[in-house]
């Protein structure tokens, strides 16, 4: 699609002009205040115990909003924008990091029920995407854990690295050196043959997660139902240290408990999370996305990119 030309000031409505100016102004102001009083804000993020924030999910959320006001209402709904409307998105990564640093436990560990509710609400509001740790009565064994790097998966019988990657991707050392897993994913091939492969199949393999579905509560009581429910289920994965995030699907089962990792990500997922260098491992939040209408595409996402209606924290 050709890139839309920016409208001149004359063409912008009063609302568009003022919003554009105030979005910029707000970002600058917020950045200056955080920078000027950095020590105090950092202290607050570290020292106010997370458990006090979540004494009640609603109360905790209310407290967070006092020093870190949200800007949800000010974000233009990117998924609803009209063809000729200039989209003004607010990068809310700083806001997200402030909320998470004040609410997450100091170490990567399973979240309590109240923490999951609060973190789910924070992610929903800051990303503008409805997410939750439990969805349609299903959940994983945890929602905060270490992700590790996985290999590419074969999309169809005979898929090899040469055909798997585009010319550009072949040039990326990390993408190429990750290699191809020798076996199929937990749900088999993504498609029956190369000729039948759709762009959706390509995207699903590119942005796949391996999660321990076998450890999900209730899995052993109804394996078939869980197996079908988890297949290609959409999740939001967030690196709480950097705010980098990705929308991905469950495409494989794993990793084994002994690996010390709680889930795995495709090479592309690890890049999107900024965890592809060094140990190729890091703590992430992973929550189910409520996207019944399939409006949210797979791939990297930034806090503030969407404004899909979510329940308010206040």
């Amino acid at each position: 699609m050709p890139k839309k030309l920016k409208k001149s000031v004359k063409e912008l409505s009063h609302y568009e002009q003022l919003k554009k100016h105030w979005v910029k102004k707000h970002k600058l102001l917020q950045r200056d205040v955080r920078r000027k009083h950095r020590q105090a804000f950092e202290w607050m993020g570290e020292k106010i115990p997370a458990r006090e924030h979540v004494a009640g999910a609603a109360a905790g959320a209310l407290m967070l909003s006092n020093t870190l006001p949200a800007v949800t209402a000010a974000v233009t709904p990117a998924v609803e924008n009209k063809e000729d409307e200039q989209v003004v998105k607010v990068d809310k990564t700083d806001l997200l990091l402030g909320h998470l640093s004040a609410s997450l436990p100091g170490e990567v560990k399973p979240l309590t029920h109240e923490e999951e509710l609060l973190i789910g609400q924070i992610l929903s509001e800051d990303f503008g995407i409805p997410v939750s740790a439990e969805y349609e009565g299903k959940r994983l064994n945890r929602s905060y854990g270490y992700i590790g790097a996985e290999q590419h998966l074969m999309r169809f019988p005979g898929d090899i690295m040469y055909s798997h990657l585009s010319a550009n991707e072949t040039q990326d050392r990390y993408i190429y050196s990750s290699g191809m897993a020798p076996g199929r994913g937990a749900w088999g091939y993504f498609t029956r043959s190369k000729s039948e492969m759709t762009s959706l199949d390509v995207e699903r393999e590119r942005w796949y997660l391996a999660v321990p579905t076998f450890l999900a509560p209730g899995f052993m009581q109804n394996v078939k139902e869980h197996y079908e429910w988890f297949k290609y289920r959409k999740m939001l994965v967030v690196n709480p240290k950097s705010g980098q995030a990705v929308i991905a699907v469950i495409g494989d089962a794993g990793p084994a408990a002994w690996t010390g990792k709680h889930l795995g990500g495709s090479p592309e997922v690890m890049i999107a999370l900024g965890l592809h260098n060094g140990p190729r491992k890091g703590g992430v939040l992973y929550f189910f996305v409520d996207d019944m209408e399939n409006k949210i595409p797979l791939g990297p996402v930034r806090a503030g990119d969407y404004n899909i209606k979510v329940a308010s924290r206040q």
Binding site: S13, H14, Y15, Q17, L29, H37, Q39, I48
Partner: protein
């Protein structure tokens, strides 16, 4: 709308009145009012923090975080001379800027 510890001291009425002269839908006006409130909140935080020592900044933020307005005011009255005036001054300066922004947009 959330009530902040300074809500009885400053309002955005004059900015809202100025915005009424623009061609805005109800949703658009509410959204812009929300932005004005964010500006006000940040501006007041900055004005207060700039008057406090590093130690008192932390006490202030903690009181604010726990939403205890009485504690916030007690602490501020102890540490900042004429704190209400300082909050009003910062708010008035911001409101003037915001009203000018609105007028500029109207004139464009």
């Amino acid at each position: 709308m959330k009530k902040h510890f300074y809500s009885d001291l400053v309002t955005l009425d004059t900015v809202v009145e100025e915005m009424a002269t623009l061609d805005l839908s109800i949703r658009e006006r509410k959204e812009l009012e929300e932005f004005a409130r964010f500006h006000l909140h940040e501006t007041i935080l900055d004005a207060i923090l700039s008057e406090l020592s590093e130690r008192d900044k932390k006490i202030f933020l903690a009181n604010l975080e726990y939403d205890t307005h009485d504690k916030v005011w007690r602490h501020l009255h102890e540490k900042v001379e004429n704190v209400e005036d300082k909050i009003r001054d910062a708010a008035e300066k911001l409101k003037k800027e915001l009203r000018e922004d609105v007028r500029r947009v109207k004139a464009s």
